[in-house]
């Protein structure tokens, strides 16, 4: 059922070409723009306070990513987020490195208390931090799989606290809206050897969310799952094509795979399990 919703959203992305406003980091921004184009949507990057809210107002979704946060753009993120809330535009938030520094923690708190989030996507350590659990973060890259935290309960808790769709990506991906839970078991471990695969997943969720906004379904649960599934399938396809060549070619082939994704490929490859 969720899989059918995702197929519909993919068609809608390509038909309606949602404009996806990204306020994001300068490390992975080029990949985020290219993956949004690859899936069929249209990216716009604008982070100055003098235009952030105005650009949001012409967009169909807003993606906030604090990968290289700074004081200047945090202010823009909040202004853009508030405008999105005002206009019913979905906000997708990627709390990169939550738990890793006081500044990141304060920023996460500030964004979550000022902006209503539609989809919150992070790795297990980031989402555990947001759920209020004790975590040892090591940088921004990997979920701490070994700290015995259960992804499902973290996702449910985050979804309940913030009234949003919570998406945790890692060895197994979990999405919950507080009631429903879906696990996605696509993906490949080589994805962790390319910077920005998490950011790209968030940007893909933003693309699906834009389509779900335009088509009126407002089905951000399926949008989150669609974003994660798309990156997971792309990670598998890229590995088959270029895994043996190295991480540079693998990186490029991820974008390739997203750009040729079709409902036939989803039908064949998606491993999306509603629990």
């Amino acid at each position: 059922m969720v899989k059918e919703n995702i197929k519909q959203l993919l068609e809608d992305i390509r038909k309606n070409v949602p404009l996806v406003h990204n306020i994001t980091n300068y490390v992975t921004v080029n990949d985020c723009a290219n993956v949004v184009l690859a899936v069929g949507a249209s990216p716009i990057m604008a982070d100055d306070i003098l235009e952030a809210a105005e650009i949001t107002a012409i967009s169909q979704s807003l993606v906030l990513n604090i990968g290289t946060l700074n004081q200047r753009t945090v202010e823009s993120m909040i202004a853009a987020g508030r405008k999105a809330n005002e206009l019913g535009i979905p906000v997708v938030f990627d709390p990169v490195g939550a738990g890793a520094s006081g500044f990141r923690n304060n920023t996460v708190k500030q964004i979550l208390s000022n902006v209503k989030i539609a989809i919150l996507r992070g790795n297990l350590s980031e989402m555990s931090y947001i759920a209020g659990l004790q975590v040892n973060t090591k940088g921004v890259d990997s979920a701490e799989e070994d700290n015995k935290i259960d992804g499902v309960s973290v996702a449910k808790k985050v979804a309940e606290i913030y009234g949003c769709v919570a998406a945790i990506t890692g060895a197994v991906d979990v999405v919950s809206d507080g009631t429903r839970v879906t696990k996605i078991s696509n993906g490949h471990k080589m994805l962790s050897k390319v910077t920005g695969t998490g950011c790209m997943t968030t940007a893909l969720a933003g693309s699906y969310a834009g389509a779900a906004n335009i088509n009126g379904s407002k089905d951000y649960y399926s949008a989150a799952i669609g974003g994660i599934m798309t990156m997971g399938i792309a990670g598998e396809m890229a590995f088959e094509t270029a895994g043996h060549m190295g991480t540079g070619s693998y990186h490029i082939n991820i974008i390739d795979a997203v750009s040729i994704l079709s409902n036939e490929i989803i039908e064949e490859r998606a491993r999306v399990n509603e629990e």
Copy 2:
């Protein structure tokens, strides 16, 4: 005749390796630097007000791109632009997203009233905005082909108002200096599926302009056409090599094609028509 000028400029780029100062956006900056290197010139990126003008002074051309403009770098763009004007260094300006926000519109106005531009390159909606026409901009990516505006008259009008070479890229590319008009019909529609192909075109025009500055011809009309033709040919070659693989490989093959561009390839492929 223009085609012969472009061939000469390409040789001059590779012989004289002009230094091209770019104050540009953080989305496509890596591609811009790599495409400048690929065509044979040398890129330098420097955007702080404490050095912008000084770096311009040692360069052979200046490229201004407002893709992710912010208050800090707009000031640097104007300082660098004035220094370029003072020293007779050509300024190439890419008004990304003109028409999309008040901040962009004010910045465009501020740059155009403070800096004499040699080449102004944008898509049809951006250039229509600059020509003073009513437009509906949708983001930063695509010219609105459907609003019945005629590219030739827009290019001529912009060229006349600002005394510059005006270059409009889209389905068909048009360049005018107010009197002459040239159409370039190279290119491939897949170019619109990679972020930054517009920015790269502008950076290529900056590379040709740097060569035209060094060789004393100051032929910025041919430089603009050369930049557009180079991206167009590269877009065709990349499609032949990698179009079937997806947009990631296509992206990389665009840079490949620019780096192997030769006068033989120009002779064979250029579709440059002086009207």
Copy 3:
């Protein structure tokens, strides 16, 4: 002997996965993150003064790169550098464009007088500037090979003045700690046609330095040589695989080669000569 140390460090990178904090430029930052991942370490980019020192404190090495320096991040570099010094974390410094503007020169001076550097890597013109010699810098890209400055004496001089490992990259690469001198003759001239190969070399040196910090050897001399050798070998391998395709594919294949680097490949290809 140095070659054996490098092999050990490469194993240690992959076993201990050092966290490498980069405060760097927005042109090549994506490549720097990906090359750090490719060699087996973990990158983190954070440049706001509100978190720079805190992120350094959880990292195993710190890389400072002034490619697109600005007033905001220079302050963060110094705060991060001081914290690194306080905690015994090695600082690797890439003085991009030293000699090209007053702002760059002042920043270099400020960093060198506030932060104790473990490894200083630049091209010949940058390092000559730092050694106090008269140079004519042309942009940020290439060492001036023709100004008759001897790399070995420059490296020795910089190492003596700043009590660090000095690494000069160019046609021949030289590393000195003031006493010892090692030349690395790996590499390929096509490396100069891709932006950021210098920055990536510095980030690789930072990855090796992080491993040398964790394993307690603090052997930053071998770390610097290891970083340069890794990029040199990758440049050769990428040329063999993709040199004929163009600079875009070559770029991607550099990352590929780093990701598949092994001690067998080092044994076979390294041209590291202790003098």
